[in-house]
Symmetry: C2
Subunit: 350 residues, 2 copies
């Protein structure tokens, strides 16, 4: 496996990057004629991997995928994949026959034998669900011309978990909501999201915690709705509303409690420049405050895409990629602190 030390997705910040860090589409698909992953034999699972791999190679209009059987990836490589949000944590730790296909720019990825035979994922920096949808859909369409999807005319796509039956589409955005958190409105927004049948998850998706005010928000309804319905509801209505809420909270804070924002941002910059030891979680929290500083115009000399890149590069496996001595935890903390101190040399506040 040759996953580089940098996350190519962080090369550009994308639209509405002050609030939406990343957009993601995930399609759940299964192959007709094979039991679902959990009930399949290992022979069948290997067959599915081979079948998808061959079929993927025939999708001429989609980016070429490089395939990595998980059995041949090291623990370090699996962790890199998780940190780049290319595979789920469950997938990274499974022992069954499975593989991941990645396009060179990592915008398109396919997990084979996660919960479903196929999890097609498309990523885009910033708020760009349509670009991601188009990438995922065109691969899905092309693949569907070669393989038989498990599909019911009545229900739509059949999936291992009933929550994905139907279109099998999950749209999600990784949003950064530090202002709503500071004003205390975040809980209200989370409740409203739940009322709209949206899931609000942490930094690494399902079952993970929110760190540094990053939240992954996604649709939960897939039955009886189409791709267009979802784009109209989620991409055109819900996400823009959340973006507006966060921006309103931010300008309200700058207007009425500027010192609170400045205090948070200036402390974060100072700590990032002074610390000699930093855990990945603390780095993420501090970078989150710095992100708010950039969005609020309090920080110069650092762009949002560079910041996103720092978030990935300071995660444990990425740090280890660039510095093999970071295996020991205390050494890793020191290397992380040094790395960030260097990286933020030209940042100016105030």
């Amino acid at each position: 496996m040759r996953l580089g030390p940098k996350d190519p997705l962080s090369a550009g910040a994308g639209p509405e990057a002050d609030v939406v860090a990343r957009s993601r589409i995930r399609l759940a698909r299964n192959l007709a004629g094979f039991p679902f992953v959990a009930r399949a034999t290992d022979v069948q699972r290997r067959e599915v991997v081979d079948l998808v791999r061959r079929a993927g190679a025939a999708c001429r209009d989609s980016p070429a995928l490089e395939w990595h059987p998980m059995s041949q990836t090291s623990a370090h490589e699996r962790q890199l994949l998780v940190e780049r949000h290319l595979v789920s944590r469950n997938f990274a730790s499974t022992e069954i026959a499975c593989a991941v296909g990645l396009s060179a720019d990592e915008r398109l990825s396919v997990m084979v034998n996660e919960e479903d035979h196929l999890r097609i994922q498309a990523l885009a920096p910033g708020f760009d669900l349509r670009a991601a949808m188009s990438l995922a859909s065109s691969f899905d369409d092309a693949l569907g011309r070669t393989v038989d999807y498990a599909f019911s005319p009545r229900w739509g796509h059949l999936t291992a978990c009933p929550t994905n039956v139907g279109c099998g589409i999950r749209l999600s955005v990784m949003v950064h909501l530090p202002s709503l958190k500071l004003t205390g409105e975040l809980e209200r927004v989370k409740r409203a999201a739940k009322d709209l049948n949206l899931a609000v998850r942490g930094f690494y998706g399902e079952g993970t915690e929110a760190i540094g005010s990053f939240f992954q928000i996604s649709n939960q309804v897939t039955l009886g709705v189409s791709e267009d319905d979802l784009l109209e509801e989620f991409a055109d209505r819900v996400v823009p509303q959340i973006v507006t809420y966060e921006r309103e909270a931010r300008s309200m804070l700058l207007d009425r409690s500027r010192l609170v924002v400045e205090d948070k941002v200036w402390r974060a910059v100072a700590t990032l420049r002074a610390a000699r030891l930093l855990t990945a979680d603390e780095a993420l929290k501090l970078l989150s405050s710095l992100r708010l500083g950039i969005s609020a115009g309090l920080v110069s000399g650092l762009t949002l895409d560079r910041l996103s890149s720092l978030v990935v590069q300071t995660q444990p496996a990425h740090l280890l990629s660039s510095e093999p001595s970071a295996k020991d935890e205390q050494t890793a903390k020191a290397i992380r602190a040094n790395f960030l101190r260097q990286a933020l040399r030209d940042v100016e506040v105030g």
Copy 2:
């Protein structure tokens, strides 16, 4: 009342100031012929105040005391007295007739009608229990020539609480033990102190919490022991041992975990210079790390006595003394942050 905005005790750091911030002697005394404070009438309490005041004025060899009836001190002034450790928190909030006498340098102070009729206190910067004892004792001796102390040939001085019966002396030191805290040895030291019948208390004495690794350590046994016994045991053996422990932990840390100390100190300096809002507790914690930095030779441009002075000046009532607008809590946080940023301009780390 004319308590200045600065704590005169912080004018010099005193001996062993890297570990011992302050030494204190407290003598509990009661007047014969009067019920203990809790059982006395208000008329009797006022009589005691007058009697002690007059008797104090006759003590020619001791510093002159300026007397302040607590009924005539404002809430702000009471809080100033507490922050300078000149009166107890209980005394500051009591409604009964009571008064405090203070010498100009505040090294000698006398609370009348705290738990006992008299609580004679002598303070000294750093580790100098003998200087404090001599100051307290000479006032005690002089006063004893004018008033009749409640004294039993069998038990010694009689006090409201049996724990003070006997010599009625409490020796205490305010120690700063950040290294023992960092190495995890602090709990062992606290247990050992308890085995030696010592009390380990927080920053404002009985019933208060330890903030910023400051602990008040004092003897608890007063019955059947003399002033000299206590000085020999506590001042000559116990405190020097604690000083040694802290210094050993500090050099061990600098030797084997230098980064941990540097990380703590550099973060504190950076935060103190960057913060726009600071609570008194956080300021104390950060100044505590800075104190460690000075003691460990990692910080220059700031002396221990100047640091002690900043600790007092950033407490709420002291801040209000220098900036009347600090009444509102949020404003106080901003003023405290500004004040410390200015005060630490010339500090250098590394």
